[in-house]
């Protein structure tokens, strides 16, 4: 049977992708950001997964206002990096895992999660920047990926609790997949940031670190945090953090091992947060 061995959490800032693509990672501004992922790149080689279940949000790229799915799972064979307005990022295409994805879709829909199944979409920085941070600049990503997109653009977004419970349903689905796959689940987005209006540039270091602590130690309580707290305390785009609860919900009930923890301010407008948790 397949199983989830670890979860990875990371911000997915577009400027980080640009810094990588333009060869600026050695600049003094960027050095401390990328240093936080040195461990992670090695860890990815050491603990190479068979499949990554990658939770992210689309930033008005694949989904316009014509159609806004709350939860969308990709069951396609492959996905192209999107042109977000400055041309597609020069990164490998994403290879899907249609069979595992379809299995998970079937299982969680029967568990009362009302997914949208997607067979054609481009993927934006929400997915490709975490891949670059964790894998560097390879010719191909190290394994197939199941994309899972969450609406955090138009309010109301799904609650933290809903995300956490969905994670549990995903775990159950993966654990009933026949092939013995080693699956990593990633939650991306966040941490505190606000990209709009006179309050743009908001960072809440204390809140972010409390979030990381609670994500590790008491995710069940964390999952009950209302939306409004995220927006007020972590900025209008800090709401992306609800996605981390999907990955955390998919971990086993035993306390995980914290393989890596990193926090840095700033990257562009955003606080960078990053965690690697291993299942016990």
């Amino acid at each position: 049977m397949a199983h989830i061995s670890a979860s990875v959490y990371t911000s997915h800032i577009p400027a980080v992708g640009a810094a990588i693509d333009l060869g600026k990672t050695g600049e003094p501004y960027w050095q401390p950001v990328f240093k936080g992922y040195d461990f992670s790149k090695q860890w990815m080689k050491d603990k190479k997964p068979d499949v990554i279940f990658l939770v992210y949000n689309d930033h008005a790229t694949a989904f316009s206002l014509d159609l806004i799915p709350t939860f969308a799972i990709g069951t396609a064979a492959e996905y192209q990096p999107a042109d977000e307005g400055w041309g597609p990022r020069p990164v490998p295409k994403v290879i899907g895992h249609p069979q595992l994805a379809a299995h998970i879709a079937q299982s969680v829909i029967q568990d009362d999660f009302d997914l949208t199944i997607v067979n054609k979409m481009d993927v934006d920085h929400g997915m490709t920047v975490p891949l670059s941070l964790m894998c560097g600049q390879p010719q191909a990503w190290p394994c197939p990926i199941v994309p899972f997109a969450v609406n955090v653009v138009q309010y109301p977004v799904p609650s933290g609790r809903r995300c956490y419970m969905l994670g549990k349903a995903i775990r159950k689905a993966i654990e009933t997949y026949e092939e013995p796959l080693n699956v990593h689940i990633w939650g991306t987005g966040g941490m505190s940031h606000q990209l709009q209006g006179p309050r743009a540039g908001l960072i809440n270091r204390e809140w972010d670190n409390a979030f990381l602590d609670q994500l590790i130690n008491d995710p069940d309580a964390l999952s009950k945090k209302p939306h409004l707290d995220y927006v007020r305390e972590a900025g209008s785009e800090g709401i992306e953090l609800v996605m981390w609860l999907i990955a955390r919900g998919a971990m086993s009930d035993a306390k995980p091992t914290v393989a890596h923890r990193f926090y840095h301010v700033p990257a562009s407008n955003t606080a960078v947060g990053h965690l690697i948790l291993e299942n016990n």
């Binding site: 309010y155 209006g197 540039g201 209008s236």
Partner: protein, 129 residues
């Protein structure tokens, strides 16, 4: 409107809810169109003419021409959509975000390097700073 909006008391922040989405529909869909290289070229060649192809309000068109992102947001624009205008202009997300704060680009960058805007005094409208 009968939607409950508990988020109205957060200063300098517009939540993109269904009402804003309805108001900004064509403005945001215009932004989406800039994801195609040929549309970016046509827009840059004649912004006004390109905007006139969309059933946007005159106010929305003017706000785009002025690159007044706060105004765009007040008229239903969403930052993830508006970012396509910035990308077309070759602006970074930091330049775009900074432009909404009344700070210069340098001041905003400086604030971020120093740890960003503090949450203190920025939780509730009318709160003492």
């Amino acid at each position: 409107m009968s939607l409950d909006k508990p988020y109205k008391d957060i200063p300098g922040t517009t939540i993109f809810d269904a009402d804003m989405s309805r108001q900004g529909y064509h403005l945001n869909q215009f932004c989406m169109s800039l994801m195609k290289a040929e549309n970016r070229t046509r827009f840059k060649a004649n912004e006004r003419a390109y905007l006139d192809e969309w059933p946007m309000s005159e106010e929305q068109k003017q706000a785009v021409l002025d690159r007044d992102l706060n105004r765009c947001i007040a008229l239903g624009g969403n930052i993830y959509f508006l970012a396509k205008i910035g990308a077309t202009d070759g602006k970074s997300f930091q330049q775009m975000a900074g432009s909404m704060t009344g700070m210069t680009e340098e001041q905003y960058r400086e604030m971020m390097v120093k740890g960003g805007r503090s949450i203190e005094g920025n939780r509730y409208t009318g709160e003492k700073k």
